[in-house]
Amino acid sequence: MPRGQVFVIPERCKGCRFCIEFCPEDVLTESEGMNAKGYHYAVVAEGKEDACVDCRFCRLVCPEFAIYTEEVQ
């Protein structure tokens, strides 16, 4: 099973939660802090640090081009 690293661009997020709700591995959650526009952006949930499988679903479903993953060896 591939393993992925999550990258986020906090300032682009508008808090739609698409990535959080539809991540097949439930890797993501809302940030505690907010970005400059007042949105809680997506972050990796506690205990899910090794759960991303680099399926790229978040990269495609994010309307804001604010999240993507890369495979790690």
Partner: protein
């Protein structure tokens, strides 16, 4: 492994006018997801980016042309297909994709659609259907489901609607599909398929418009409409398209799939 890493740019940024991000689309709108699928399909395409052209009409979806860092046309209302036809016939080397909304393509632009499909011009048409005129304040259009409340049908729409995949297939489109802004993998694959296909290809993509349509129809925000697509979406590539109309009721199935993929002599094909 670590938690998330905060960065400043995205791998698809080279295909976007990233200096214009964040875009104007509302939180919960599906247009950005569809543009991500389109960008991914273009990035993976064997046709170089400088040969891809995006043409759009007017409306929220019309903004796609302005956000893509490709040769792109933001045309007059309803006229995306005529502009695309001219581009393709003058320069068959180009891979021309029209991205526009349901109102632009099927109300004011309806006649252009039927004749482009009849002639089988080698362009791709992606219609983002959000069931209303979102940019101008949520008015009813030719895809507004019967019973749906909009700012011009506060008691519920009464007119019959277009069934877009049936319409496109009847007119002779060589590729006909319907997906949603949630079905991003299937949508990306369908977009890749139409880029390698000769002839008039049509993809309808359902997308939430939480401000213009969702809130007045008890659907809620964009996430709720996306969940509805997951709950009610039925993938059936062999579906009887006469039964594929959409009423957007909470318990009605939404038929999805790549319904048609055939060959027919096309106009404007690169030699």
């Amino acid at each position: 492994m670590s938690r998330e890493t905060a960065v400043k740019s995205h791998p698809l940024d080279p295909l976007l006018r990233a200096d214009r991000l964040p875009h104007i689309w509302c939180p919960g709108c599906g247009l950005g997801s569809i543009m991500a699928c389109l960008s991914s399909a273009i990035a993976a395409s064997s046709i170089p980016a400088e040969k891809h052209v995006i043409v759009s009409g007017i409306g929220c979806t019309g903004r796609v042309a302005g956000y893509m860092k490709l040769d792109s046309f933001h045309t007059t209302h309803g006229r995306a297909i005529p502009f695309a036809t001219g581009l393709k016939l003058a320069n068959p080397e180009l891979e021309v994709t029209v991205v526009s909304g349901d109102g632009d393509l099927f109300a004011i632009g309806g006649n252009h659609f039927i004749h482009a499909a009849r002639r089988n011009i080698d362009i791709n048409v992606v219609c983002v259907n959000n069931f209303n005129y979102g940019m101008t304040g949520g008015q009813a259009g030719p895809t507004t489901p019967v019973g749906a409340r909009t700012s011009t049908t506060p008691q519920g729409a009464t007119e019959p609607t277009f069934n877009l995949p049936l319409l496109a297939a009847t007119l002779g489109a060589v590729f006909v599909a319907r997906w949603t802004s949630l079905h991003v993998r299937q949508l990306e694959k369908a977009m890749s398929r139409v880029m390698e296909k000769d002839g008039f290809s049509f993809i309808e993509v359902l997308s939430p418009c939480p401000v213009g349509f969702g809130k007045s129809n008890d659907i809620g925000d964009g996430l709720d409409e996306m969940s509805m697509y997951r709950r009610n979406g039925v993938v059936s590539h062999d579906a009887d398209l006469t039964e594929a109309g959409i009423d957007m009721k909470h318990d009605s199935p939404i038929v999805l799939g790549n319904f048609r993929d055939v060959e027919r002599p096309a106009l404007g094909v690169r030699q």
